[in-house]
């Protein structure tokens, strides 16, 4: 009947693992901790959402995910959904969310995919002073 969320900050990535039934009644249980962590962490740009433990997802749940996608977009970041089963994937598809959020098979894959840009940039930034 409820949702359990675990939130971690990893550099510019907000990693969240969500479990349970995500519907209109429980949406705030996912939205609120994600919003709180996002506001508390101005360094955060990307969101990785592990949905492996999600046993139910309705259009309200999709709306929460898209709300977080927009938050990431506003900071020039991306949202990656990890470990989506066939049902979750179909909901993302039907809702059109799949055109906006990305899918990854594991947290490691998602983090690696988000890392190069960050490393690339920080490397560039670090090199800049020494190069000219």
């Amino acid at each position: 009947m409820a949702v359990h969320v675990e939130v971690q900050r990893q550099g510019p990535v907000l990693l969240a693992r969500v479990e349970g039934d995500l519907d209109m009644a429980s949406a705030a249980q996912l939205r609120d901790p994600l919003e709180a962590a996002w506001t508390a962490g101005p360094e955060l740009r990307h969101i990785v959402l592990n949905v492996k433990g999600l046993s139910f997802l309705d259009s309200t749940g999709i709306a929460v995910i898209l709300g977080r996608y927009r938050a990431a977009l506003a900071r020039g970041g991306r949202l990656v959904v990890v470990d989506a089963n066939a049902r979750v994937r179909r909901m993302l598809e039907i809702s059109g969310a799949l055109r906006l959020v990305e899918l990854a098979g594991s947290e490691a894959e998602a983090l690696t995919r988000l890392a190069p840009r960050r490393q690339g940039r920080s490397r560039r930034r670090r090199r800049r002073p020494s190069s000219p």
Partner: protein, 165 residues
């Protein structure tokens, strides 16, 4: 909610009593009852030869329609929602009915992306429910209420223990 909390629903007619395999559930339009409505419909659907995945489809569609009644039907807050089910012709028929404000333009309301509410509302409740069921009909009268009738037949074709008359 005034008067009797659960008067007889309007559009769930006498044909629903013709078979032993039917039910009518009345619950207050409250988010707290969404998971309950899903559990009830899943328990009922168990008498048909649905796969677990098909039962999840039914739960999702019913949940979307009950959520609509909770969000849209009673702007003043609170009112009854009926969820009825029956085995008909080897298929599951589910109805979600409210006595809320109704929908003026049903065709428009059913369009994906159309919502009269802003914020995070995506306007995809109807399209999701439709995608997961075989058929969905909306019957709504402004000021009187909304009745959504859905049907789904087990892909396996046969009804198991249910012997609808």
């Amino acid at each position: 909610m005034n008067g009797h909390p659960c008067p007889a629903p309007r559009r769930i007619g006498p044909e629903w009593g013709q078979s032993a395999h039917s039910f009518v559930l009345c619950i207050p339009a409250d988010p707290a009852n969404l998971a309950f409505a899903r559990a009830v419909v899943a328990a009922f659907a168990a008498r048909l030869d649905f796969t677990l995945d098909e039962i999840e489809d039914v739960k999702l569609a019913v949940s979307e329609m009950v959520a609509n009644a909770v969000i849209h039907a009673y702007p003043g807050g609170g009112g009854p929602v009926w969820v009825a089910g029956r085995v008909h012709d080897g298929a599951l028929e589910v109805v979600v009915e409210d006595r809320g404000r109704g929908i003026a333009d049903v065709a428009r309301a059913r369009e994906a992306g159309y919502s009269t509410l802003g914020g995070e509302h995506l306007g995809i409740g109807f399209s999701v429910a439709e995608a997961y069921m075989d058929a969905l009909e909306v019957d709504s009268v402004p000021g009187e209420g909304t009745c959504v009738r859905m049907r789904k037949r087990p892909a396996s074709g046969a009804a198991s223990s249910a012997r609808p008359s």
